[in-house]
């Protein structure tokens, strides 16, 4: 674990989480959620949990972001609140 690397990752993680919650365009929100998953994946790898990082990269950043995009495509694109 490298402390400065951790701090950068955590700051980006919080920023990505806040943006994905606050952005009105749901397509952007789901893509930023994918970025969030990828940052968590990097954190897992950084902490030595390589198996978990692999799962997070495949499921979180890959497939679940895609599921969200497919859902956005079939409902509506902009958030009402």
């Amino acid at each position: 674990m490298i402390l400065s690397f951790d701090i950068i990752l955590l700051v980006f993680l919080v920023v990505a989480a806040i943006i994905s919650l606050s952005v009105k365009d749901l397509l952007s929100a789901s893509m930023i959620f994918g970025i969030y998953s990828f940052l968590i994946c990097l954190l897992w790898a950084d902490m030595g949990a390589v198996d978990v990082a692999f799962t997070e990269a495949a499921v979180g950043a890959g497939v679940s972001a895609l599921f969200l995009i497919a859902t956005v495509y079939n409902t509506k694109r902009s958030s009402s609140d």
Binding site: M1, L27, M47, V50, D51, A53, F54, T55, A58, V59, G62, V63, L66, F67, I69, A70, T71, Y73, N74, T75, K76, R77, D81
Partner: protein, 264 residues
């Protein structure tokens, strides 16, 4: 607006409670924490047992795989069942067999998603080139899960993703020609059948459910350790089959609103 304020207050209270709770945790990597050193005065810790004995027990170098697929095999089996049930619920909610009338209505048609044919060619060609690489890597991940990070879940997700990429490259019909609905529903069930079947085979041979050591006679290995290693591979293949089928099923039903006709 007022609901939002209440929600924010609730989130802050829960968050600060969680952060307060974290202060009780042992430091990261602390050798004297209960997980690493065991309870004081009690038996030694379970992680120490796994780290020192799991290779002798199972002949699997990757401790994570041996814990997930052997020591905690019951957990993994029902995790697979959870994925299966999730896929089946999405199938039950979304899948519609009436033509032209999807259950979920399109609120607002937003055609800005599809940018035109010229982009479709670039995306399509890239995706088609990626599919065989992804599938080969997925098979490697499943087969090599004993020695390196990976295993059934990751490999299954990658396999499912390769079919999703195929659906994105052309259209859903192209992917469904290779993995039809009947086939993926069957694969999902077959995966669990492989997993629990191995468990029941152990019972038939007079051992506990999912106690692989007794499968020595079936696999004709030198000892129960190699039998465990081989059964773990079998179990991983079962998990991969279910996960792959369910990932593709969820995508196909979500993207086409359950009609399996026109998708993204």
């Amino acid at each position: 607006m007022i609901a939002k304020i209440y929600a924010t207050i609730a989130v802050f209270i829960t968050g600060s409670l969680l952060i307060y709770g974290v202060s009780d945790f042992p430091r990261f990597g602390d050798a004297r924490s209960p997980a690493n050193a065991g309870v004081e005065g009690g038996a030694g810790s379970i992680s120490e047992y796994y780290i020192t004995k799991s290779y002798a027990d199972t002949k699997v170098p990757n401790i994570v795989t041996s814990v997930l697929a052997d020591y905690r095999s019951y957990d993994t089996m029902f995790e697979t069942v959870v994925i299966f049930v999730a896929g089946m619920s999405i199938f039950a909610i979304l899948r519609t067999f009436r033509s032209g009338a999807p259950l979920v209505e399109n609120f607002r048609k937003d055609d800005s998603f599809i940018d035109g044919d010229h982009q479709r060619i670039i995306v399509g060609t890239t995706c088609r080139l990626a599919v065989p690489v992804v599938q080969l890597f997925a098979l490697y991940v499943i087969a090599h899960g004993h020695h390196s990070p990976g295993g059934g879940f990751q490999g299954g997700v990658l396999l499912g993703a390769s079919y999703i990429i195929l659906a994105l490259a052309d259209d859903l019909a192209a992917a469904l020609r290779r993995l039809s609905e009947a086939r993926y529903l069957m694969l999902a069930a077959v995966g669990i059948a492989i997993y629990s079947g191995l468990g029941f085979l152990c019972m038939l041979l007079g051992q506990n459910f999912l106690d692989y050591g007794v499968l020595e006679a079936v696999f004709r290995t030198d000892g129960p350790e190699m039998a465990r290693s081989h059964s773990m591979l079998g179990v991983e293949i079962g998990v991969a089959a279910t996960v792959m089928a369910i990932m593709f099923a969820i995508y196909a039903n979500l993207a086409s609103k359950g009609t399996l006709k026109k998708a993204l």
